[in-house]
Amino acid sequence: MTVHLYHWEPNANSGKPMLALAEKGVKFESHYIDLLKFDQHQPEYLKINPDGTIPTMVHGDRVFTESTPMMEYVDDAFDGPALKLKDPKERWRMRWWMRFFDAYFGPSLSMIGWSVFVGPAVRQRPKEELEAAIARIPLESRRIAWRKAMFNQFSEAELTESRRRVQYCTGVLEDHLARNEWIAGKTFSLGDVNGFNLGYALPLSQPDNCNDARTPHIMEWLRRIYERPATRQIWALGRTAMAQRVKFLERTAHA
């Protein structure tokens, strides 16, 4: 049974199942969905995922739309190296940190990203075109997010709070990685796949918070993941400058 993955750039939610599949050694058919062209809200895509969110994975007649649970399925359903640990405590820790990334660190980081990148990338189009695009979005929460990005409705207060959280979370992650080689403990796991997708560009987007002097353990952890063959393979699928940011992690880049 072929695995079909509908994804955007290897970044954030799209990158999670991409990297998990590559680490697992599972071949998949890649379908690039251009987020900035609103491919994800087109009728053809909504037939596959009526919520209009990215990514979507299809395996046989099963459809998967939540990226973190999707990664657990990839580990459970296919042969290949285990990406979850045997010890229930380490499995719990992996899941705890994935939720921390997905529901706390990630949304603050993405609010900044949407205000400086996604919004400006689509904003110059005619207002009617943008309104029509919003009208096609199935989920209320996504309509709210897109409206904010398209019309630059982020308040200074909420951006300030997002920046505070990103700085705070970067410190929390640095402390965690100072005590643990990998997110769940001693072994590479889905927690690292998740964390890399969230954090690979932190040294570029947050140079004052995340650098060799302030966060040496995050830097070393990112470089170790960047050097894995699966990471190279997946980030080569990127089509925009966004994915290119990963090259900042080359050890020779700043030597």
Partner: protein, 261 residues
């Protein structure tokens, strides 16, 4: 050694109490009186996962020196760690359904239900307290998002209009549950699982907090589902631990609503 720090068996706190009873595991109950705000004085702030978990003041399970937090993952931990009645779905796909349900309902019900419950039941109790002592207690609460959750109750942040919106937004997650129950008897396939314990613990108070959203005629499958789960001996035993006799009237602010609006 297994110790569960919990309050009245409702919402987040009810989940592990059901799971431990389903498993037949004996544990030491460490009662937290949330009416006295005892949860602010537990002293586990040095443990990063106990300090920063996103429910802010849900249950904590101390197992052989490791502090387990975050109620859905706690259910999965209990399911994976102890023998007895299986509480995990059997197939990889059904396990995906359980994870996806826990994530989706955790974000949606986990923020809306506690707000409605706190405004209805917890706020009058807070107002009856000595206000300067209460303010002093809240001033030292960390992380600041946790303090904000309580402060918002006292500040009048939750206006009637916001509560109307919250009840309206509850229809979305409840409709997803209703739709899923058309496919299978339980949320993650043919077997009762952690997904059901997770959902039940939040859903069971909605007929009281937002009766128009969950009732016998509007959501018949979910209504029947709640009756089925409520009849389980483990669920009855967990609810019988209540000291007030009204566990469904005790809430903590819970998961922060989405900051995107």
């Amino acid at each position: 050694m297994l110790e569960l720090y919990h309050s009245e068996p409702n919402t987040f706190f009810l989940k592990p109490l059901i799971a431990l009873h389903e498993k037949g595991v004996s544990f030491q109950s460490r009662w937290i009186d949330t009416d006295k705000l005892e949860q602010f004085s537990l002293g586990f702030s040095g443990d990063v996962e106990a300090h920063l978990h996103l429910e802010r003041e849900g249950p904590l399970l101390l197992h052989d020196g490791t502090m387990i937090s975050s109620s859905f993952f706690m259910l999965e931990y209990i399911a994976e760690s102890f023998p007895g009645t299986p509480l995990l779905p059997e197939t990889a796909y059904d396990l995906y359904l359980a994870h996806a349900s826990g994530q989706f309902l955790g974000a949606n019900l986990g923020s809306l239900v506690p707000i409605l419950g706190c405004v209805k039941y917890q706020l009058p109790r807070l107002k009856a307290m000595d206000q300067s002592a209460l303010e002093a207690k809240l001033a030292s609460v960390a992380p600041q998002e946790r303090r904000t959750g309580w402060q918002a109750l006292l500040d009048g942040t939750y206006t009637d209009q916001i509560l109307v919106t919250a009840r309206e937004r509850l229809k979305f997650p409840v409709s997803r549950v209703e739709a899923q129950l058309a496919n299978s008897p339980w949320l993650a396939g043919p077997r009762y699982s952690i997904a059901d314990i997770d959902a039940y613990s939040m859903l069971r108070v909605i007929p009281d907090l937002a009766p128009e959203v969950l009732n016998e005629s509007a959501t018949p499958r979910t209504w029947d589902y709640l009756q089925r789960i409520g009849q389980r001996p483990a669920v009855k035993a967990a609810l019988a631990l209540s000291r007030s006799g009204k566990p469904e009237q005790h809430f903590v602010p819970g998961v922060e609503p989405s900051r995107w609006g």
